[in-house]
Symmetry: C2
Subunit: 324 residues, 2 copies
DNA sequence: ATGAAAGCGCTAACAG
DNA sequence: CTGTTAGCGCTTTCAT
């Protein structure tokens, strides 16, 4: 392995000089800088991560924590965005899954393997938040829990997002809107995003004087059919259910209704679902991952908690909504 | 931070003694072992990862490398399986994406951040394989490249998998089979799995004397329809195209054909696709992740290359196939 | 069966 | 602007 000492010898300077050209924490004369840089390139030097972590008390690694409940969904878009953003700040990403539970977080924190935490998919009452507080390491939540004091969270403003859906449909002249939401269990579990979007939906529909109804949907044929049967004349549907979107579209077509013509459907879902033909208010996975990393980097540099940061929703107009 | 010295002081023994009760590399009297263990628990000691890596020249971290091409698919099932398996062997997982290119692999290897590599989604001619060789660190490929000498690879036996699909349909009495495969570009790019399954399909159909045809499919309506139009009387379809599966099923239904009754469809896809009603030869993501980790652990312990390990396909019978 | 001590490669405080 | 040096916390060799 090539060490700092090797580089120093090669460049005829002291170790610390090499260190300081690398860290930039000290003024270095142009001449030595060049000699050192040359030696570094020549020898192919890379600082030893462990030694660096030991001496500096910083590992330059972030832990990305998958929800503790053993549900098999990994928001890939966001994971990639997190890794890319972390690299842009010279950090790497360690993946932690729910299997190990809170112990996993304690382990990597106490062993100084990571400098901070990114919690994915945070729910209203999330075990990980307590662990984060206990550990005292910087952390950023993706998703908003019930209590946000002393925390930093990023999420889509689901209330505004649902309201935006209603607005769009109202502008198109629809007078009755039906929300096909997540499975009942999701609301009960206290998922922040599901409940907040339901609130936004209900409130905005009331403000605009629209008839509004809400159905939970677990994706089963029965629960997909239920809202359609109950509202045979409804012309506007909002689907906040990633897996239910396709079945709902299929069911509408089967009933001979032309989506984007005599019936409008708008989805609240990650962009990759729904494909190219469904009007959506997309979950900005890339931006959420990026913002989360940036907020964490700021915290590592001593910035104070930022509270709950809600990203403004945007309408992604495609072919599935039309005038009433 | 609680250090080895703290524990040693607390237990009235030497540092090295604490170390050896932890590592088990030396006989320790029952009495001291208890005292030390007690001190460890009492103080909540966790060894410092960086210090350990520095002294032992092992980081206990594996790099999981996402394909370098910037395609946005992360096989979540497998990632989770890899992390879980790695933890079972006292290792953590660092996620590397394509963004950084081969430089990322060099960086984490040379800085001793990781002990070995797991390459996901390896193609026939994969840039990462060369980098792996150059670095000289242990690595396991998930997917099989053109040259496997001096390597260790895990993958589903796609040739056998496709043959198994053909067998199943032949047993049901079908005499003509149609393979709806991946996008043309995937075959051209030299994806190992796509080409190998095509081989298995062609060969077995020939052996059994079945009429066989193959279509590439990019998921567009045209390419989904094409095979159905060309073979209006065909009763057996094999779909090796994750995203194309749903559209194919829809298109068949739209034409009034009852899947699982007058037409049979079998999918070669990860288990989560197709849902509960499609007969599949599933990609064993969990097992692949687990095997890959185990092989890598063995390599870290000095085991020789294992070559290409092909997992036997299994038929997962559901409702979408029926007698001709 | 246990202890003492020399590094591992880097950072940062101190000295000039 | 540059050099010297004392650790960081753990592993391992050498003693006993």
């Amino acid at each position: 392995m090539v060490t700092l000492a090797d580089v120093a010898r090669h460049a005829q300077v002291a170790q610390s000089t090499v260190h300081y050209v690398l860290s930039g924490k000290r003024p270095i004369s142009e001449d030595t800088r060049r000699r050192v840089q040359h030696a570094i390139d020549e020898l192919g030097y890379h600082p030893h991560a462990g030694a660096r972590a030991l001496a500096s008390r910083r590992s330059s690694v972030l832990a990305l924590v998958h929800p503790l409940r053993p549900e098999l969904r990994l928001p890939m878009r966001m994971v990639l965005s997190v890794v890319t953003s972390a690299r842009a700040h010279d950090h790497d990403v360690l993946l932690l899954t729910g299997d190990e539970g809170p112990q996993g977080m304690r382990r990597v924190a106490r062993s100084a393997l990571v400098d901070g935490f990114l919690l994915m998919d945070v729910e209203l009452y999330d075990e990980r938040v307590g662990v984060l507080r206990e550990l005292g390491l910087p952390g950023v939540l993706i998703g908003v829990p019930a209590q946000t004091e002393g925390l930093t969270c990023v999420d889509l403003d689901f209330e505004a997002a649902a309201a935006l859906c209603v607005d769009h449909l109202a502008e198109l002249g629809h007078r009755e809107v039906v929300l096909i939401g997540e499975a009942a269990e999701v609301y009960r579990r206290g998922s922040g995003f599901a409940n907040r979007s339901l609130d936004g939906f209900t409130r905005r529909a009331a403000e605009l004087g629209l008839a509004a109804s809400h159905y939970t949907c677990d994706g089963s044929p029965e629960q997909v059919e239920a809202p359609l049967l109950a509202h045979p004349a409804a012309t506007a549907f909002i689907v906040h259910n990633t897996l239910g979107l396709r079945p709902v579209l299929d069911a509408l077509r089967t009933r001979g209704r032309a989506v984007g013509a005599d019936v409008s459907v708008i989805a609240l879902a990650p962009d990759e679902f729904g494909g190219a033909s469904v009007t959506t208010v997309p979950l900005p996975s890339d931006e959420m991952g990026r913002r989360a990393v940036e907020l964490l980097m700021a915290k590592l540099d001593g910035a104070p908690d930022a509270g709950a940061i809600l990203l403004a929703p945007e309408l992604s107009l495609r072919g599935s909504t039309a005038p009433a």
